[in-house]
């Protein structure tokens, strides 16, 4: 009975191929958008979470100059040469709830090992950096305070730089040249990838900040100071304390700050929000096209019932009950939307994978989305088929056969 009914429904729908196709387009788009929404939301959430975990806890970044945050990325607007290592020490002493500070100066440089030359970012900082960023060497060791105080030429290579310079060799103990200055490699950092700042943490060489400012870049200032607050609750207070302190130290009165304090929690929140705004947008598209799809199916089914009054009369004459007619049209509407839903799921999987690829997420097969898509298209089919099917079932056999 059921099989025969589905076959009947397919026959009726195939008899009106173009119209069936048109009716189901909305469902196709709706289900596709729904799946993209689910997998985008899922992927973005995972990515943000991963970044958040890898960034370091309770981190406040103090940048020299003006930095604005757009969609979770920090963008340098203006530079300044007024932020110093002494500011960092002053923060640690003068701002309550500051646990650790690490000044950073970074810049690009050519690095050689024999004939191999690469261009990479040189990050000068202190041994505190590892703890603040939750980022450790996987081979060898980090440099020490003694090496920092002695402005020693020691380097810890980012994972990718190590591979580019040394291939499969162990770099520890080897010599490299940074801007022609010889350095001894003491360690290789663990792989980390692109982090919340948007910079590839594997494409850099970390050296003592003193060596970086005095020997390599010849500057007296730093580009940023990483600050770890004692607790999450203390973050706003720490940020405010830092701002007050720096304004006093930099003698800022009646002019704009020459620094920017960015609590990374905020940055991450923005990022999560940006992702969720996109998800909301896609959700709106999904909802609208599902409604359009439902209306499309409804309209086509109503038209179909009107055109097939005679067929309904024939079916009633040979023994179809009102319920059987209702069921038939419901199955038809269900088949129509589930067919659309199936195509939508197919497209949805495709687009989800494409987006994951472009956004460099781990591509997850959106099983959850596929299941939701199928269920939603079934509900759409039943809801939009209900009224036409009811109307069909109420057509009196005589009325249908007198035409």
């Amino acid at each position: 009975m059921m099989v025969a009914l589905v076959r009947t429904a397919l026959g009726a729908l195939l008899a009106q191929k173009r119209r069936s196709l048109l009716a189901t387009t909305g469902v196709v788009i709706g289900v596709c958008a729904l799946m993209v929404m689910i997998s985008v939301g899922e992927g973005a959430k995972r990515k943000v979470l991963k970044e958040f975990e890898s960034m370091g806890r309770n981190l406040v970044v103090v940048s020299a100059g003006k930095v604005s945050i757009r969609g979770g990325r920090m963008i340098q607007r203006e530079t300044a040469t007024t932020l110093t290592q002494d500011d960092a020490w002053a923060m640690r002493e003068g701002v309550p709830d500051v646990a650790v500070v690490a000044p950073v100066y970074d810049g690009f440089a050519m690095v050689e090992r024999g004939r191999v030359v690469v261009r990479t970012r040189i990050t000068g900082t202190t041994p505190r950096y590892t703890g603040i960023r939750n980022f450790y060497p996987s081979l060898g060791r980090f440099f020490t305070w003694e090496e920092l105080k002695g402005r020693m030429r020691v380097a810890v290579l980012g994972y990718q730089v190590a591979q580019r310079l040394f291939g499969s060799l162990n770099p520890v103990g080897q010599e490299i040249r940074v801007r022609r200055i010889p350095f001894k490699v003491v360690g290789v950092m663990e792989p980390k990838g692109v982090d919340a700042s948007g910079e590839d943490q594997d494409d850099q060489i970390i050296i003592p900040i003193t060596t970086a400012t005095i020997r390599v870049f010849h500057v007296t200032y730093v580009k940023a100071i990483l600050v770890e607050a004692r607790t999450e609750e203390a973050i706003p207070r720490v940020a405010q304390g830092i701002a007050l302190l720096l304004r006093k130290r930099h003698r800022i009165e009646g002019r704009a700050d020459d620094f920017t304090v960015s609590p990374m929690e905020e940055v991450m929140k923005q990022k999560a929000q940006a992702a969720s705004i996109f998800a909301v947008l896609v959700a709106a598209v999904a909802a609208i096209s599902l409604v359009v799809g439902a209306i499309g199916v409804l309209a086509v089914m109503l038209l179909s019932v009107r055109e097939r009054i005679q067929e309904i009369g024939i079916r009633r004459a040979v023994g179809a009950t009102g319920g059987a007619v209702l069921f038939q049209f419901l199955v038809e509407s269900l088949v129509l939307s589930v067919a659309g839903g199936g195509v939508g799921v197919f497209l949805g999987v495709f687009f989800s994978l494409v987006i994951a690829l472009l956004a460099r997420w781990q591509p997850v097969l959106p099983f959850k989305g596929a299941a939701v898509g199928v269920v939603v298209s079934m509900i759409t089919g039943i809801l939009s088929g209900l009224y036409p099917a009811y109307k069909a079932s109420r057509i009196h056999p005589i009325q249908a056969l007198r035409l």
Binding site: M1, E311, I314, R315, V318, G319, A320, T321, G322, A324
Partner: protein, 226 residues
């Protein structure tokens, strides 16, 4: 005495238009026995189709009693009537009434779709019925690919496929040329010869001549027999 397939007692059908009540059938008393071939004649608007719809359980009388093959159907609800149609009745209409997008075979199998228990050999039975109507080589044809006479033969195959107790035909030759009409009427006569009970409505005396008994319906009453 032969079994009564149809027995009506003082059957009335009235339509109300506004506050006006229009009686279409005004007390029909009719008995049709098993194996009879009855032709109902009468002028247009006499109520022939109305009567056939009631006899065919497609409609219900305003009052009166109708016993079909031993079952009182005058008090049945819509669902029950549908089941009775499926089990006991076969219809042939003037306009053939085939499902346009389905094949001849699918059309003939239609009654099985709504049977309580559809027989295992539904398909063979449908093929058989079509073959009997000389349509065995047109199983996959759509109605639009068939002539009027062929469509009516498919409709007759559908009407007899579930072996009904009563075959009802409302002007089955109304849309056919004389050659096709003759063919169709010969089929009816043949089926009556095999013992099938048939009630046929027609305007045409020549068509009515195939029946074993004729009645005249006029102004909602059976006027003459003969």
């Amino acid at each position: 005495m032969a079994r009564k397939i149809i027995e009506t007692v003082d059957l009335w059908k009235e339509y109300s238009l506004g506050d006006q009540v229009i009686p279409v059938l005004r007390g029909i008393n009719l008995v049709v026995e098993e194996g009879e071939f009855l032709a109902i004649m009468g002028p247009s608007g006499a109520g022939k189709s109305t009567l056939m719809h009631i006899l065919g359980c497609l409609d219900v009388p305003t009052r009166g009693k109708y016993i079909l093959d031993g079952e009182d159907v005058s008090l049945m609800n819509d669902t029950h009537l549908s089941q009775v149609r499926n089990r006991k009745l076969g219809f042939v209409f003037q306009a053939f009434y085939l499902v346009p997008w389905a094949t001849a075979l699918e059309n003939v199998m239609l009654p099985f779709l709504y049977a309580d228990r559809s027989p295992k050999d539904a398909r063979e039975r449908a093929v058989q019925a079509l073959t009997r109507m000389g349509m065995g080589d047109r199983l996959k044809h759509k109605p639009s690919e068939l002539s009027g006479g062929q469509q009516q033969r498919v409709a007759i195959a559908r009407a007899i496929v579930n072996d009904p107790s009563l075959l009802l035909a409302d002007e089955p030759t109304g849309n056919l040329d004389s050659a096709s009409s003759r063919e169709v009427m010969e089929i009816f006569q043949e089926m009556n010869g095999e013992g099938r009970t048939i009630v046929l409505i027609t305007h045409d005396r020549e068509v009515a001549a195939y029946a074993s008994r004729r009645i005249m319906l006029k102004d909602g009453l059976i006027m003459e027999e003969g």
